[in-house]
Amino acid sequence: MTMTDSTPQSASAPSSAPVLEVDGLVMHYETEQGDVSAVENVTFTLNHGQALGLVGESGCGKTSVAMSLLRLQAENAKFLAGEIRLNGKNLLGVTEAEMRHHRWNDISMVFQGAMNAWNPVYRVGDQIQEAMDLHYDPPLSKAESWEKMGETFELVGLDPSMLERYPHEFSGGMRQRAVIAMALSCNPQIIIADEPTTALDVIVQDQILKEMKKIQADLGMSIIYISHDIAVIAEVTDTIGVMYAGKLVELGPTDEVFARPKHPYAYLLLSSTPSVTGPRRKLAPLEGEPPNLLNPPTGCRFHPRCPFMTQQCVDEEPPLTEIGQNHQVACWNWDQVPVTIGEKLP
């Protein structure tokens, strides 16, 4: 496995090797009104066996990053800079045929709302087999692939006999489990889970997240979780990246970022999240709305909403800088952010 020197070592145990490195990724969408700067200079590393969470609000670029990793970006998307290296190999430089080989075999994805994407007229097992036929080289025999599918169904807590059933015979939670089984069917190294439990009720969500954590530990899998729900990210990840308006503004160990967020946006996001535990407190609203990325603010993209804004924030873009053990923040005034959540801000 090769390590490129330009990539900053991201948060995780220093001994583990990176499977995926995203380095200075810039991706824009071309529209009639101009370029939408959806992903701007995003850099992070995913290590073997690591669970990384990307959080942010709608339009912050988290799904655009996920789609880029599989090169399933929209047609009007263009990569302007950066690399996505899978075990050292730049995926942005390979042909589509090669990329197709990496998809599912190396990186698979649980798409947002995928539980509703099953074809109602085919048995679930046949649909998973279709994916396996396309990606196994040499191809598996029918018996082998059904055996493999049975194993993955057991992993996600479904009875293998369910493979013979049609999607309408599954409940919502079971359909989502089957989607995860499908993502596991070709033994990928990395799973990208984009809002894997958003449409589910909390009790089912709890079961599926537990299942995914167990699979991750048992198979030594690396998972990138993408969610707007920071409570979910708090529970399942060891590293968290907070995105705002196309940029990664804070990256660090989940415990550390939740205990002491240092980017004002991350701080305010945590301050404005209601919880069923702890003292009932007044939540601090984030004033304003996310910017239009057709014409993003100068300097720091968060400055129009930031209580710590100075002239420097308007003029200069803050780089992602190391402020602690594997903890990086892109803010000029991170040292002014209060230590405890929920304090009154200027």
């Binding site: 009790i203 409570a231 996001l269 945590l270 535990t277 939540l283 609203p285």
Partner: protein, 337 residues
Amino acid sequence: MTEPLVQVESLRKLFPISKGMFRKATDFVHAVDDVSFAIRPGESLGLVGESGCGKTTTGRMLVKLLDATDGTIEMSHNGTRFDIAHIEKDEMKDFRGKVQMIFQDPYESMNPRRTVFDTVAEPLAVQGIGKPNEREERVAELLTRVGLTPAASFLFRYPHELSGGQRQRVAIARALVLGPSFVVADEPTSMLDVSIRISIMDLMLKLAEEFGVSYLYITHDLAVARYMCDRIAVMYLGKIVEIGNTETVLSDPKHPYTKALLSAVPVPDPSYKRPPVEIKGGINKAINPAPVCRFLQRCPIATDYCRENDHPPLEDKGDGVQVACYLVEKKSAPAPV
């Protein structure tokens, strides 16, 4: 104790399952089954539960978007009492001035071809309140109060020119323009981003005080209910299983379902270890349910007594909390000091 603003008594809603055009339905989904609760003036009640538990159906019956199969919904307004479940057609217009609704999806609940002014002023026009120029003043004042300032710049915009948060503010203005005393809010913030959500929730709390409005706040999110509501009612398959003061219920849940629901909520604190969730599986539809406890199949502590008896009644189990479970002991009142 003050007289309740809304008193719901034995409310039921059965949906027939169609067996074909000319056949009479024999199967029914018991969406809401014998639900009773009261909302006091100025108080907000949170109605929580998983999807399919009947919380939206209950809310819709309270604004008369659905007719109740059975039961009464008494409401008092300016000293008079009337039954929402049995309103006559000619009283509907009057009723709409007293009770309003805020919907979940601000992208669906507004006519895309009408301006903000048209949307907010329509209830005034329907009710024949004020002259057109007075209406414009009233709408502008409301827009200011829901935080859409300067109001003049919002009056003649179309929904597509507004963000989700701004649209929900318009929906709130529309709900309040007639000065209702009761508003049913069905997941009003669940489509919004976290950073916008708190400002809308704070706005609703502020307006409740200023306008003297009570909410029935329907949500699947216990953390949101905790932030918004004085009291909370937990629904399961058409029944209320626990109702009481929000903090009391959440700090000491008594019904096994409330316990499971609460321990399944993810907490935004990686160091917090949640108690294990004792129940499995998802919610089913209550089609011709057996008369036993609705929660029996998933209950981790059910006994033979539960299997042999009817659905337990909602009873006071101490701390002012009512619970529908045979196995929850009544907490005795603390001895006077």
